[in-house]
Subunit: 415 residues, 2 copies
């Protein structure tokens, strides 16, 4: 495993015990190298080589100040095929103008020459500090090194795309399409600056399924709406957020083009599952997190209204610190619902922790007993329910608590 | 000075040296008492008696889950006259349904009987924990005690309305209207759950000027837009936010009814000044604050767009922790501008700290020297400038940094 660069990054208490066993994806080869974008001795450049005929779909940040990498990714997605993914860690290359663009063009040019592919088939992402141009010389030497490196594992690639992450993150699934089993293996990085609006963080899903780019895009957009767009660590939206899905087609299934094709539902379910598990992993590595919080909103006027109310609760510093303090301070949940700017009626509002209703019809529940709620809050998996009593809209969002750890990490990180 | 109830509340390093000397306002008498709404030995009930003929105007929270007190205040403001203000500290009485309403009606009934006034002329505010009905017996005894208490000072009243505040807050001004000098004396409380949308916190401005309620309301609404609505501590909007201005008319000036009346501009300027100073005091007592941050946005497509961009920067946990860490991490300012959802062009954006431009035209400024910026960030008064290069919209907003102190206060406060 590549070595981490700072003592701050002790493993999150919410991390899974180990990295999952992920299937090899035929048509994908992973390699890593040291470009030394920061003063650290770890691999920080990842290269995924993709076979000819690989379809690609993607979602990117809504942040207006997005990086050159994000702009070029959006442009490339129009073509819909991919041969290479290159990920630089330690420098986001965002807000670096023409200087940053030169480095990305260098990487693309070298990689296209190496693979004999079109420039539009090379995808580049970068993550790390904003405002410092990606150094041309380091990128140049890094690409030379990674091209000749030995293939590596999913876990090594997941660790190499990481920055302030405290553990490598991956998820896998499979589905059966017309008798053929297809596999999905995915890696993601992210722990701060997490409040996606279109996508979030850097996430890469690889599958050997054969699937048309337009349909792949529709499935990814739909999965994102229920996963990456329903998590938040700190309400801050990154300038580099990107999630890409690559489909090599090596599984030999009949090409999926729409939901009418046999197996399309199964593949969509597997993709949804992988996206949701990746999203949860990011929350579990939320900077300073000690508790994983699920907020289920029901009874809103629409699903989107429910999501917005859930995110208002999930982003409230006062709710997040109350959970950190194991304090059943449901009044702060009331406050956060009330500030969301969505339709709500104070006197129909109900709040629960776990399965205990603490407030109903605009005041404390008669049955409310704080003891079991206090017990629930001592755990690391917290469940909050909000019922608006207005309609049938529902959404579930996920976040983590706000602790001294977040302050320590972010008042020191850089420069 | 009333005693504080917890060792957490050491005085903010951003607090002024002392409470200002505020003019007595003819027609206003202040009294305080111990209702013991919490387990503390300090005064927590404030009563301002207002002479007959006092005009009143007010702004209240936009939080949908507002308290009974806020609802009744809005109702009372239609009448436009006031005889009493009662403020309960330690219990916000919000989200307490009919139980909370009974306590407020008790207070109003007793006070109206005492003064021989209409119920609609008694204003009640409450601040503190949400969801616990204001205890009837304590309110009852507290009103009896405060009616018979000796008059007190502005500073004592300011300390009595406080909850998690670390210092009492007041501001004063005067203006000349047709040869008559009028005075404004004001107190405010607030340090967390501060992200006003219509008004914020509990703030009370008293003046001896004679002014019609409708014009007073117009002036307060305008002043609020530039002061209370331009500050944030933690992006959370209180359920109880209220700012009221009372005008006793005892100064003997010709009644102000519009901007056409001589002296109206002078009075408006004095009111603006008091509101801005009160708003700044709240930021200076922001929970855990170690730095006072001014964010001036220029070149936006409109003033409101500039305000929203400023608030996106002011509410960003990553910007606030960078300032706490004295880190010239202007990339986080770029990120926050980009996520604001307002018109912006990355390649026209410029950022400064103090008077040093750190980024211009979409990348780091050629002239950028970190040393003077690092020096500026070591101070306690931080100035950030954002120029969008789009239009003539401008706004200035104020916030504080995000420190371990905020976590300590809010992971422990209650229950």
């Amino acid at each position: 495993m590549p070595q981490k660069d700072t003592a701050l990054l002790t493993k999150s208490p919410l991390a899974p015990d180990q990295f999952p066993a992920l299937a090899e994806i035929s048509g994908v080869e992973l390699r890593i190298a040291r470009a030394r974008y920061k003063e650290w001795d770890r691999c920080d450049l990842t290269f995924a080589e993709l076979c000819e005929g690989t379809s690609v779909a993607g979602v990117t940040t809504s942040n207006i100040c997005c990086s050159t990498e994000v702009e070029m990714t959006r442009e490339n997605l129009k073509k819909g095929t991919a041969r290479a993914l290159v990920v630089n860690a330690g420098n986001s290359n965002a807000f670096t103008g023409f200087r940053g663009r030169e480095a990305v063009e260098l990487i693309i040019g070298k990689m296209a020459a190496h693979l004999g592919c079109a420039a539009e088939e090379v995808y580049v992402s970068s993550t790390g500090v904003i405002g410092v141009p990606l150094p041309m010389d380091k990128a140049d030497a890094g690409i030379d090194a990674v091209i000749t490196a030995a293939p590596c594992s999913w876990e090594e690639a997941a660790a190499t795309i990481a920055t302030t992450d405290t553990f490598p993150k991956g998820a896998g699934a499979s589905a059966v399409i017309g008798g053929k089993t297809v596999h999905l293996s995915a890696i993601i990085k992210g722990s701060g600056m997490i409040a996606p609006d279109m996508a979030t963080m850097l996430g890469y899903i690889f599958t050997d399924a054969a699937i048309e780019p337009a349909f792949l895009q529709a499935l990814l957009t739909n999965a994102t709406r229920k996963s990456f767009n329903c998590i938040t660590v700190d309400s801050d939206t990154s300038t580099s957020d990107t999630v890409l899905v690559f489909a090599t087609g090596k599984a030999g299934n009949a090409v999926l083009g729409s939901f009418d094709d046999p197996g399309a539902d199964a593949f969509a379910a597997a993709l949804d599952d992988v996206c949701l598990r990746l999203a949860h992993l990011v929350v579990r590595d939320g900077e300073g997190a000690s508790k994983f919080i699920e907020i289920a909103v029901t009874g809103a006027v629409s699903n989107e209204s429910a999501r917005r109310i859930g995110m208002a609760v999930a982003n409230s510093p006062l709710v997040k610190t109350a959970i950190a303090g194991e304090d059943a301070n449901w009044g702060r949940v009331v406050m956060a619902v009330g500030k969301a700017g969505e339709p709500a009626d104070r006197d129909r509002l109900a709040i629960r922790f776990a399965d205990k209703w603490v407030a109903q019809a605009g005041l404390a529940a008669d049955s409310y007993d704080e003891a079991p709620v206090a017990e629930h809050l001592k755990g690391s998996e917290i469940s909050i329910g909000v019922d608006l009593g207005m309609g049938n809209g529902r959404a579930t969002v996920w976040t983590c608590d706000l602790t001294h750890g977040y302050i320590s990490i972010n008042a020191d990180y850089r420069s």
